[in-house]
């Protein structure tokens, strides 16, 4: 019989034991009777000989060795009975714990996926990124989310490295798969030929790329798609191989599908289509960056050779770096720029967890939120510990009796712990469900149309270990002290003091008060945090961006297919502008090269003259058409707007903002002054005349201060492409003019993408909203928990002092006096809690500083507000028991004695 059989067949076992012993006694007695002993006496002797059947049975049970488990089962059953007698307590306790553990688990799960989990490929721990070590001062154009290298550098690395058994390069890129009309971008990746082989990702069906697919000037026509894309677009049909898909209107044959687990090498995204790098010129046409040596867009990854260390691989790369950068220097660089470029050194960086913008953006917020959620759980544990303490002291007598009749203390502690274990396990089980829901919600909250997130929220051992650990921790936190307390009584004393004393026992109360003080302290930290993040969000949202955000539509029109010759681009775009302006409801429209607050930026160094050697610093730049300032509601302070007269070949002009004027012209009116912008090639520096001064605005990020800004006229750009962005301001709802815009440009068969400026700005504040929302939620939860904790303790105190209050009332105390006594006691607890909490909040505030906008983490006003909020809630919570105490009927209270 195995141990679990013995456990489950306990009842049967006990019956058998009973029968066995009865047999023994009967036989013994029978023999004695046969020898002539009186039957009653014979039974007595037999029983004496065996020494008490119950004791023998108990020892036999012990001998089975499953005693602890049997006890556990018994304890758990007993606890279930106790909890069912008090369902309100059980429900509140389990829900509180589930919420606390669930919030922690959800946030941990997100952190785990973006930070700890390795890529879903073969031996990810062997992967390393190959990057420029200290890549400061790089110039050129930077596209894709991870613009680490140029194609020329990558090809050199591939050919000259020796420490890796294989290398590949890749770049995330939006692929427009619409065959006509509005753009439909999917997540694409450019990959070098060995991408799948080096990662060790086999095809699910068909084949993956090999180095033969990625040859310079390839007529590449093959595409590999992800499992998700296969399911979503082709219903998982196996005849997908050989079907065609269009990327930027170029046809590709689908040659393979990757396995479901492979989402690419970027955590937080899932790729849908992979194309070989060599096909980039085909897809991008005149915008191609493949052969441009100052075009940064690739990331390189290698798999370490067996036996090679990071240091060896890095040393090898350092050794070949001069040759690599010498062979890939952009020809347009002047001598100084080229020398700087040649000085770069390659290094080896961790690659097992891939790239992740999500990680960069949310690692800090999530870590902080995990801390906050941990505090909430602590407060919740404090509450439950307090409730269990109250019940433990109510059961003091029971414990005393049980100790007196010989129960061991350890056994009683185990029994009491079983109850908290039950609560913790039930809470944790529910928490897993809550966590799943919460994590999914958080991912969808952070996911936007521009940045669709994909996070693999599979439950893994790390998460289970985390939840299990939390459950055990909560069990110990809420149960151990009450259990030890309850069983520490000396049986005699406890039995003697069965009645109530005049006042409550101070010593045993100290711990409960300490718990409440810590709860108040922790919740002050959380309420402060919540207010800080709420104020920070309010500040960043309500600040003046310097331009109008409402009723502006961003229309991105790519009309490559209209085949407009380069010489006609300008007049074509101005014509398009006129057509948009003629749409009924459109107040004003203009072109822009930079859409504000999208993160895209353009900056160059400023020189006071084309010949100047030293630049006084950089400025941000935007290229716009006339009417931009009217469209965006930017005030023209001095000078004029751009006009048709500012043409190619004419004198170069610019409009600057006030910060620019302050920085470079000491705040004097700069109109009529000249400056130049440092080009990559010094011979291209030209003198620019300032013709206007405008008010300041935000540029690429709502969190940054208004930067110096130079506006250049669209009409002086000699290299316009067939891709133009319009800002369209409307006096009617934006949905009303959307179709009209589509209508106006239909004849061009363009790729059209419309977005609302307000949405663009709001999506840039996701991290702020996440912090404000979750910390607010935690703050409310904490304040609620702490006030119920305070309520519980004050109620209990009041109950314990009923006699005292009865006497006081009998001696003539007014209800007001009693309220004062109780409120004073609550006030003392609150004061201690707030003092400790303020100290904690100040100590911890540095953690939050980098996530706050426009205010200091130790903002005294916020702290004060938190104190007031918490004090009000606490006063309310202790008011109720105080009022109850004031209504003490002295006769009733004293009669109970």
């Amino acid at each position: 019989m195995s141990w679990w059989q013995r456990l489950w067949r306990r009842k049967q076992m006990d019956e058998q034991l009973e029968r066995e012993l009865r047999f023994h006694l009967d036989r013994h007695a029978g023999e004695l009777i046969a020898r002539g002993v009186d039957p009653a006496e014979a039974r007595r002797q037999a029983r004496l000989a065996i020494g008490g059947p119950e004791q023998v049975k108990e020892e036999c049970r012990d001998a089975r060795g499953t005693r602890w488990l049997e006890d556990l089962v018994q304890d758990v059953r007993y606890s279930i009975r106790t909890l069912r007698k008090n369902p309100g307590f059980a429900v509140v306790a389990i829900l509180t714990l589930a919420l606390g553990i669930g919030a922690n688990t959800a946030i941990f799960q997100l952190l785990d996926t973006v930070r700890l989990r390795t890529l879903p490929v073969q031996n990810p721990q062997e992967l390393r990124q190959v990057n420029i070590d200290k890549a400061n001062g790089r110039t050129g154009s930077f596209t894709s989310r991870y613009p680490a290298l140029t194609n020329a550098i990558w090809e050199q690395i591939r050919d000259k490295q020796n420490g890796f058994s294989g290398t590949f390069a890749w770049s995330p890129w939006p692929f427009n798969i619409a065959e006509s009309g509005e753009v439909r971008n999917v997540e694409g990746i450019w990959v070098s030929g060995d991408f799948f082989n080096v990662l060790g990702v086999p095809p699910l069906i068909g084949r993956v790329f090999t180095s033969a697919d990625d040859t310079p000037g390839c007529a590449a026509t093959s595409a590999v798609i992800s499992y998700a894309f296969w399911q979503q677009e082709y219903g998982g049909q196996s005849d997908v191989l050989g079907k065609q898909l269009h990327v930027n209107h170029h046809a590709f044959d689908i040659v393979g599908v990757t396995p479901p687990s492979f989402y690419g090498v970027e955590v937080g995204r899932t790729y849908q289509i992979a194309l070989p790098i060599c096909a980039e010129p085909v897809v991008e046409g005149q915008d191609s960056g493949l052969s441009r040596r100052a075009f940064w867009w690739l990331t390189a990854v290698g798999r370490l050779k067996p036996g090679w260390t990071d240091e060896q691989a890095a040393a090898q790369l350092r050794a070949v770096s001069p040759a690599i950068f010498d062979a890939s220097v952009p020809p347009e660089f002047d001598a100084e720029g080229a020398a700087h470029f040649r000085g770069y050194k390659l290094g080896v960086f961790p690659g097992a967890t891939g790239n992740s913008e999500l990680r960069e953006n949310y690692q800090d917020p999530l870590t902080l939120l995990l801390g906050l959620a941990g505090l909430v759980l602590l407060i919740a544990c404090g509450n439950l510990a307090n409730l269990l303490l109250a019940r433990a002291s109510a059961r003091g007598q029971e414990m005393a009796v049980r100790l007196a009749i010989g129960a061991s203390r350890g056994r009683l502690v185990r029994q009491l712990l079983a109850e908290s274990l039950l609560l913790a396990v039930a809470g944790a089980a529910l928490a897993v469900l809550i966590a799943r829901w919460l994590a999914t919600f958080l991912v969808s909250f952070l996911s936007t149309q521009q940045n669709p997130l994909f996070v693999d929220l599979a439950t893994d051992w790390r998460m289970l270990a985390f939840t299990g650990g939390l459950a055990i921790l909560t069990c110990v936190l809420i149960g151990l002290t009450p259990a030890l307390r309850a069983t520490r009584v000396a049986p005699g004393t406890a039995l003697k003091t069965a009645g109530r004393g005049m006042t409550a026992d101070r010593e045993r109360f100290g711990l409960r008060k300490l718990l409440v003080v810590s709860q108040v302290a922790l919740s002050l930290v959380l309420v402060t945090g919540a207010l800080l993040f709420a104020r920070s969000l309010a500040k960043v949202m309500t600040q003046d961006a310097g331009f109008v955000q409402d009723k502006i539509l961003v229309a991105d029109i790519d009309y490559t297919r209209a085949n407009i010759p380069a010489a006609r681009q300008l007049s074509f775009q101005l014509d398009l502008l006129q057509q948009l302006r003629s749409i009924p409801g459109v107040v004003e429209a203009a072109t822009t090269s930079i859409v504000p607050i999208t993160g895209s930026s353009w900056n160059q160094n400023v020189l006071y003259s084309p010949q100047a050697k030293d630049s006084p610093g950089g400025t941000h730049i935007n290229e716009v058409s006339d009417g931009f300032f009217r469209t965006m509601g930017i005030r023209l302070v001095e000078g004029r707007d751009f006009g048709r007269s500012d043409s190619v070949g004419g004198p170069h002009v610019a409009i600057v903002n006030q910060i620019f004027a302050k920085k470079f012209f000491a705040g004097k009116n700069p109109v009529g002054q000249r400056f130049s912008l440092q080009a990559m090639d010094a011979t291209k520096n030209v003198s620019i005349e300032i013709v206007g001064l405008v008010s300041d605005t935000k540029y690429d990020d709502m969190h940054s201060a208004n930067p110096p800004l130079v506006y250049l006229p669209l009409t002086q750009d000699e290299h316009l492409s067939s891709d133009v962005t319009f800002m369209v301001r409307s006096s009617v709802p934006l949905d009303a003019i959307r179709p009209a815009i589509g209508e106006k440009v239909r004849y061009l068969n363009p790729d059209l993408r419309l977005s609302v400026l307000r949405t663009v700005v709001q999506e840039s504040l996701l991290s702020d909203r996440l912090m404000a929302m979750l910390s607010g939620f935690f703050g409310v939860l904490a304040a609620l928990l702490a006030s119920t904790g305070l309520y519980g303790v004050i109620s209990y105190t009041v109950e314990g002092r009923r006699n005292e209050f009865g006497i006081r009332v009998a001696l003539g105390a007014q209800p007001r006096d009693i309220v004062t006594i109780v409120m004073r006691e609550a006030g003392v607890l609150l004061a201690f809690g707030i003092l400790a909490g303020a100290a904690l909040a100040l100590a911890g505030s540095q953690e939050a500083q980098s996530l706050l906008y426009g205010l200091k983490a130790y903002d005294p006003l916020t702290l004060l507000a938190a104190v007031v909020v918490l004090a009000l809630i606490a006063a309310l919570a202790s008011c109720v028991p105080a009022m109850r105490a004031s209504r003490t009927d002295p006769a009733a209270a004293l009669r109970e004695e």
Binding site: E20, L21, F23, E59, D62, A63, G65
Partner: protein
């Protein structure tokens, strides 16, 4: 009445194994057998017999099943498992060694000289 002495620690298990080794037997019979064979010298606390039986069963040295006893009433019969038999042999051998050694020392009439016993 002869003077009774308590069993040395750990020997109860050995005695039980030995008795059971003679064939399947129930608890009461084991108690009687122990008393008989030790000629009423060894006092086996009947109360400690059953916990010992259950412990040995739990350790896999004994197994038990319900059979009809000599009186016709069902009783729990214990028998030796293979592991039990091995254990009995090992313990009996070690007991033998121990008693020989103890007897040797107690039977000495002269001081022990290394290499010069008897």
């Amino acid at each position: 009445m002869t003077e009774k002495s308590d069993l040395p620690q750990g020997t109860l298990d050995l005695l039980i194994l030995k008795v059971v080794a003679l064939g399947p037997v129930h608890g009461y019979a084991i108690a009687q057998r122990l008393q008989q064979v030790s000629r009423d010298v060894v006092q086996v606390q009947q109360g400690s017999l059953y916990p010992a039986l259950h412990r040995l069963e739990n350790r896999g040295l004994l197994e038990a099943d319900w059979r009809e006893s000599e009186t016709g009433r069902e009783a729990r019969f214990y028998s030796l498992t293979r592991r039990g038999r091995a254990q009995l042999e090992a313990e009996a051998a070690s007991w033998e060694r121990l008693t020989q050694a103890v007897g040797l020392i107690l039977g000495l009439s002269e001081p022990l000289v290394p290499g010069g016993a008897e």
